[in-house]
Symmetry: D2
C-alpha cells in the first residue's frame, strides 16, 4: 500500500507507544492550555512514538469542536516535530466526521483516529460502517486509524469490515480497545497482505498484543507510567519475554484502576502523583470519593509503583 | 410541586401522545425545512398533545447544533400554539446541556427532553446523573423531562435517581423507552407524591404503560399511525380495555419494525406510505434493502394497515 | 385445538394464579417432606388455580431426579383434587426431558412446565428448540407448558418458535418470566387462533400481563402473599383497574426483593414471616446476610405488608 | 503448596495440552463406547499431557450420571497410564458435586474439573462460589481444577474468588475459557506465590496465554488438530515466538468455527475429516446445515488445513 499510496496522504508508520492524553481543566472547567502544554513538554521527553489527542481519555465528547481543534493546535506546538500527533475526529454522522477530520489535519494532526459511530447501534452493521469509514478515508488529507472501543460505544467494529477497510490506501491501521486477543490475532492474520498496523488500546493486554502481532499501543496508563510502558515495548521487541511478563503483570491492576474500574477521574488523579497535571474532569464526571482514591492508591502501591 | 414551582418555569401537563418527529433531508443530506413544515402541518391536525423534536428518531446526533435549533424554530412556527413542543437538549457534558437547553427554550420549546449522558457509561452512576440533571434543571427556563433510552445509550437511569430527581420543581416527568413495565409501574408508585408524569417511550407497550399509571407516550410509530395511537389513548383513558387490547396488538409488529428491527430508515420509509415526507437518512444510516422493505411492508400489511 | 386434541392428553385450562413452590430442607439439607406437606395444606386454602412444583424457586437444579419425583408425589397427596399440579420436567437433553416428563405425569402432574435447554446457548436457535419441544410434547402423557426464563437461562424462547409450537395439540401455553410486556402482548396476538394460554412469570408485571391478554401468573411472591395475588387477579378480571393498580404497585418491591434482587433465600425468609416453612437453601445458595434481611424487611414494610 | 499438600490428594502438574474429548453416539443417540475407545487410542499417540473428559465439548449435560462415570472408566482403560485424565464433575448443587467428584476419582480420574454453578446467576457471588469450591476441594480424593466458561454459564468466576481458592491445598489450577487475556495475566500474577497453574480454555488465545504465564490449554480444536496444538506448545515453550505466531494465526478461524460459531456439531464434523469418530450430537443439538458445513470447510481450507 505504501507504494500505491493516496495522493494527499503519504502513509505513516504508527508503531510504538502513545498516551491518549488527558485534558486539564481550570477550576471553572475551562480547558487549561497552559497545563496542557506543560504535560506535553514532559511527554516529549519520554520515548513515545507520539501522542493521541481527543481519545476517550481526553474527555473529547465534553469538548466543543472549537476546543477540540484548539487542543490539537496547542499540542502540536508543544510537541517535538518527530513525534506523531494522532487526533480523534470521529463524530456520529459521516459528514461531521469528514469535516472534523479536515480541521484536525489543518490543526497539525499527522493522522486521525476515527471511532465507530454508535448511537444507532442496531443499524451500525458492516455495510454502514464500511461506507462511513470509506467516505472519511477518501476525503481525509491524512491517514486514518480505525478505532473500536466497545466499552464506550457498545459496538465492536465487525472483523469483516476491518479486513475490507484495511485495503483502503488511506487507512493505515486500527486501535483495538476491546481486549479480545483472539480477535487481535485474527485481524493481524487477515490483514497481513495489507499495509495495516494494529495498536493495542489498553496497557492490560499490551504484551499479549505484541505477542500476536500488534505493533504498539495507545494506553491510558501511559499518561502516568509512560517510561515503563516504553520499557515494556522494548522488552517485547527484543524478545525478552520473561522480563516483559514480570513488568506486564505489575501494570495490569494500575491500568484497570485508571480505566474500567475508576475511569478518567482516576487517571487524572494518578497523573498528579507522578508529576503531571491531571485535576478534575468536566461534569457529569465526578471526582473520586476518598474510598476510591485509597483503592486507586492500593492498586499502584501493591504493585510497587508507589 | 405545581404550587411551589420554579420562578421561571411554570409546570406543564405533558400527558398525551407525541410523535418524536423525523427530520427530512434533501438529496444532498441537508435538512429539508420545507418538507419538515409540511409534515408538521399534517401532524397539527391529529389530536396529539404535541411534538417531540430532536428525539432519537430525529437523527439529532447527526445534526449540528445550528440545525437542531433551526429545526425547533421551524416546527414552532408551523405548529398550532396549543400544541406542546418538547425539544431534545441533552449533550454529553453538563455545560453543553445547560447551554443547549437555553437555546431550545429561546427557539420556542415548551419543555426539554434530556437524555442520559452515556459515553463514560461506567461512571454514569446515580451520583453523577443526579448532579447532571439537577444542574440542568436548576438553570433551565422551561420544564425538564428525563429521558432513558437504553437501546441507544446502553444505560438505564437508575430508579433511585429518578425518584430523587422527581422532587425537583423543574423536572416534570420522564420518558421511559426501555419498555420494562415493572420499572414503569414502580416509577409511578415511588413518585406518586410528586408532580411527576411518566410517558411510555414506544408504542409497543403503550397500553400496558397506561394500565400501570403512565399518562402518555412518545412513540416513533406516531409519525406514521398517529391517529391510531391517539385512538388507543382514548380507549385506555375511557376504560375500553378490550377494544384497546385489539388495537394495541395490531400495532406491535409495525412498531417493532420501525424501531428495534429496522430503525429510523424504516420509520421514514413507512412515513412515505402514509402521506408524510420521510426520505433518506443521513449517512452512516443506510437505506433499507429491498428485502427489508418487503419485511417492513409485511409487518404493516399482516396487521391490516396496508 | 381442544377439539382435535392429543389422544392421551385432554387439554386443560391453566388460567389462574400459581405459586412456584419452594422446597423446604432439614438442617442437613435433606428435603423436609413434612414441612412441604404443611405448606401445601395451607396453599390449598388459598384460591390458587394450582401449584407449580419444580420451578426455578423450588431449587429443582439442586434436587436429584428421585427427589424431584418424590416432591411431586408428596404435593399431589396433600393438594385438593381440584387444584392443578404443574411440574417442571425440563432437562438439557431431549431424551432426559421426555423421560422425566413421563415420570412427572406418573407422579401426579396435571401438566408439565418445560424450561428451554440452555447450556449450549449459541446453538439453541428456533430450529433446535422447536424440535426439542415438539418431541417432548409428542410423547408427553400430559399437556406441556413452555417456559422461558432468561434471567436463569440466558436465553429467550424465540417468538417464531413460540408461535410454531402453539399449534401443537399437546402444548397449551407458556410461562413468560422475562417481563417483556411487548413480547407478551405479541405472543397473545400471534397465537390467538390457537388454544394457547400465556402466564406471567412474575408478580411484578402481573397486572400489565392481564391487560395485554395473559390469563394468569406463576409468581414466586405467591408463596408469601398468595391471597393478595389472587385478589389482584380478581380485580383485573372484574375490570377494577384503578384498585388493581394500587395493589399491583404495592407488590412490585416485595416481588423484586424475593426474585431478582435477593433470590430464593429471600423468598424462603419472607415465607417464614407469613406463616409458611421457608428455611435455608441448599448450598451453594447462601443464607441472607443481616443487611440483606433488613433490606428485605424494608421492601415489605415500606409497602404496608409488615 | 506441594510441600504441604492435602493428605489424600498429592498435587499434580497439569501443564500441557488436552483435548476436551467429544462423546460419540450411535444412530440411536446412545454412547458409542467402541468409537470412544478408538478415539482415545489415537489421542494416546499424540503428545498430549492427557485428556479432559466431561468438559463442555463432551455434551456432559446431556449424559446421565451413569453414562458420565462409564465414559470416564472407558477412557481410563484405553489411555496410556502416563497420560492424565481430568474429569468434569461439576453440578449445580454442592452436595451433588461432592458426590460426583468421588465417583469420578473412583472411576480413574487423576483430577477433576469443576465448573461454576450458574442457574441462580444472581446469587453466585464470591461468597457462594468460594464456599462451593472449598467444600468440594475439602472432600475430593483428587486435585481440583476450577473451570470458568462464561459462554455457557453466563458467569465469570470472580478474580478475588480465584485468588482465595488458589490457596487451597487441593485446588491446583484453573481452566479459563472466557478468553480475557488481561484476566489470565492477572490470575497468574496474583497466584504466583501459590502452587497454582492456569490453562487456556481455547486454542484461539493459546499462544497469548503462554505469553502471559499460562502453562497449557484445554482446547476443543485439539480433538481435530491435536499434533498442531502440541507443536504450538513446543514453539511457545522453546521461545520460537515468530514461528508460534504464524501457526497460532492459522488456528484461530478453525477454532472459532468448532466453538463459538458452529459449536459441538461442527467439532464432531471436523473430527470425521481428520480421522476421528465424531458423528451426531444428542438432541436438541442439531446437525449442521449444508451451508454450515461449507462454511466450516472454508474455515479449515482457507488456513491450509484441508
Amino acid at each position: 500500500k505504501r507504494h500505491h499510496s493516496h495522493a494527499t496522504a503519504p502513509s505513516v508508520d504508527i508503531s510504538g507507544i502513545y498516551p491518549p492524553i488527558a485534558t486539564p481543566f481550570t477550576a471553572k472547567e475551562d480547558v487549561d492550555y497552559k497545563k496542557l502544554e506543560e504535560n506535553v513538554q514532559k511527554y516529549g521527553k519520554i520515548p513515545f512514538k507520539g501522542l493521541v489527542v481527543q481519545g476517550s481519555n481526553g474527555e473529547y465528547p465534553y469538548l466543543t469542536e472549537e476546543e477540540q481543534v484548539e487542543v490539537v493546535k496547542t499540542v502540536r506546538r508543544s510537541l517535538p516535530a518527530d513525534k506523531l500527533l494522532i487526533a480523534g475526529s470521529g463524530c456520529e454522522s459521516t459528514r461531521d466526521t469528514v469535516q472534523l477530520t479536515e480541521k484536525m489535519a489543518a490543526a497539525g494532526a499527522d493522522a486521525v483516529l476515527v471511532i465507530t459511530p454508535c448511537f444507532y447501534k442496531g443499524k451500525m452493521d458492516s455495510r454502514a460502517l464500511i461506507q462511513h469509514f470509506t467516505k472519511v478515508a477518501d476525503s481525509s488529507p491524512v491517514p486514518v486509524v480505525l478505532y473500536s472501543v466497545p466499552a464506550n460505544t457498545g459496538l465492536d467494529l465487525p472483523l469483516d469490515a476491518v479486513v475490507h477497510l484495511s485495503q483502503h490506501p488511506n487507512i493505515v491501521g486500527c486501535k483495538e480497545s476491546g481486549g479480545d486477543i483472539t480477535r487481535i490475532g485474527l485481524i493481524v492474520h487477515k490483514t497481513k497482505t495489507q499495509d495495516f498496523q494494529v495498536l493495542a488500546g489498553s496497557a492490560g493486554f499490551l504484551m499479549a498484543a505484541y505477542c500476536v502481532g500488534a505493533v504498539g499501543g495507545v494506553c491510558a496508563l501511559a499518561n502516568v507510567l509512560g517510561r515503563e510502558l516504553c520499557e515494556l515495548e522494548r522488552l517485547c521487541l527484543s524478545g525478552s519475554w520473561e522480563e516483559a511478563r514480570v513488568l506486564q503483570q505489575r501494570l495490569i491492576e494500575p491500568n484497570t484502576a485508571v480505566t474500567r474500574k475508576l475511569g478518567v477521574p482516576a487517571l487524572k488523579e494518578a497523573m498528579e502523583w507522578f508529576g503531571f497535571h491531571g485535576g478534575a474532569c468536566r461534569s457529569p464526571l465526578q471526582p473520586l470519593t476518598e474510598a476510591e482514591i485509597q483503592q486507586l492508591r492500593r492498586d499502584f502501591s501493591s504493585n510497587g509503583w508507589l
